[in-house]
Amino acid sequence: MFRSHVEKLGGRTIAGISRLGQFTTFAGVLLDCLITRPFRGRRLIDEVYTIGVLSLVIVCISGGAVGMVLGLQGYTVLTRFGAEEALGSFVGLTLIRELGPVLTALLVTGRAGSAIAAEIGAMVATEQLDGLRMMSIDPTHYVAAPKAAAMVLTMPLLSALFIVCGIGGGYVVGVQFLGIDPGSYLKGLEGSIKFSDDVMGSITKSLVFGILVGMISTYRGYTSAPNAAGVSAATTGTVVVASVLTLIVDYIITALWGV
């Protein structure tokens, strides 16, 4: 009884480690593909477009909503200290330093990351990747690398969009509904945000999240079992793993570098 539990634990551990090794190898091949010719610019642009279009609407709407909530909550909290004028800097800093990159990564994972895993998984199931191999085309080079690279490029842009929409949402609630002076909202925003610290940190975060989501979604699609169950497992697996890792890595980055 006890022994079988130990055996199971050992088996799981070994499987986990070998999975990790497989992932690392995949990441290495992916990197290698990004620097070997031919450079697939056309595929990259297509993928950036697809990911961007998929995520644009939800990022804007969510950004606006989050900004409005921040406006309301921030106002309630700040009035207790008589500091409603600081609403602009409160909304801006929260969005730029934290919520922008993280929530964008979560949204993009759910929308575009799952789509990438499902698409590649379906290609595995219908032998399209083997078809590419038989044409002497490396499927990592042709399919996975442009998708992962596009994810890394798009993430900071979408995050920026999220932040702008959020600041707009905070403005609407704070200035239009709650009657804060528009000048002080914008002034606070302008005065408190440092480019080298806050904005660069924000961009770094979303780049890291982009790498994370891009790698995980392509890897899960690529290694999915060649059937419908495999595709669905790859999709949910991508969303779960990438979301949780995003939050953990966010904490690590914040703790280590204070951004």
Binding site: M123, T126, E127, Q128, G131, M135, S136, I137
Partner: protein, 282 residues
């Protein structure tokens, strides 16, 4: 080489033409399921060889192993003077340029049009101009009898058109060897004849060595120069005539079951455990 008691006579016949693909003592298992257990056979140059066997007998897996898409546990596969199983990733990629493969489901990229699919190998591996590519692809489309499909997506093709498009893509780089996985599955009898003629005609026109798997006895007897029979993880191979008149009980029962008797054919499908509409029958 051959597993039958009359192996010597088979050997004489298949050695008249030099082997293009030579498989020696191939072993492969998935978990505790043995697919190949010391399989050896050879595929003569420039001929059409049909691989027969029960569903799940390893026909597709054999083609995948030859194409270096599946690594065997043991054994050698010689293609010309190259050994396939020990190749690295890049070597395998180079090697596959000499091989065309027509997958059972077509395996066309469903995000590209048929034209882009067929022209993709040319764009990747040749320095042809856009005009030359267009001309080559149109020529290929004519050869396989496809018309007005350039701008269609693979999802918009019928089964027969899909097979033709897959054949066009497999042949576009003029490979030495063409692997076809069940080119007749899911086709009506007329379409079977058309694809059959197409394959034979391609073989005669270009001299390409063709290895195909099939469940379709009628077309096998018409077009095959050699037949490879997969039973119990091993291969029985020989010229079509000899297989037809073979006394091996396993071959006899397979031939009888796929003969004209509709009742026994029905039984075969039930036995195979596959839905009937997946198989083809003339």
């Amino acid at each position: 080489m051959s597993m039958t008691e009359d192996g010597t006579s088979l050997r004489r016949n298949t050695e008249e033409v030099p082997a293009h693909v030579d498989i020696l003592n191939l072993r492969l298992h998935f978990g505790d399921r043995t697919v190949f257990d010391g399989l050896s056979c050879r595929f003569p140059q420039g001929k059409i060889t049909v691989i027969l066997g029960a569903s799940g007998g390893g026909k597709s897996t054999l083609l995948r192993t030859i194409a270096c898409l599946q690594q065997p546990d043991w054994g050698d596969i010689w293609v010309g003077d190259k050994e396939v199983t020990s190749m690295h990733r890049h070597q395998a990629q180079q090697f596959r340029r000499r091989i065309g493969m027509m997958f059972q489901g077509g395996a066309l990229l469903d995000s590209l049009t048929v034209y882009d699919n067929v022209s993709l190998p040319l764009r990747e591996h040749t320095k042809m101009t856009e005009d030359e590519i267009r001309e080559t692809v149109q020529h290929q489309f004519t050869a396989v009898g496809l018309k007005n499909v350039d701008q269609l997506l693979p999802g918009q093709l019928s089964g027969g058109m899909m097979k033709r498009a897959a054949l066009a893509r497999a042949m576009i780089l003029e490979p030495e060897i063409l692997l076809c996985d069940e080119p007749f599955s899911g086709l009506d009898p007329l379409a079977v004849r058309l694809i059959e003629n197409l394959i034979v005609e391609t073989n005669q026109r270009t001299g390409v060595t063709i290895l195909m798997t099939s469940h379709h006895m009628g077309s096998t007897m018409r077009m095959a120069d050699q037949v490879v029979f997969l039973v119990g993880g091993a291969a029985i191979c020989g010229p079509t005539k000899e297989i037809q008149t073979s006394v091996d009980p396993r071959i006899r029962s397979f031939l009888r079951a796929s003969g004209a008797d509709p009742l026994s054919e029905e039984e075969l499908y039930l036995d195979s455990g596959f839905p009937r509409h997946e198989e083809e029958h003339s």
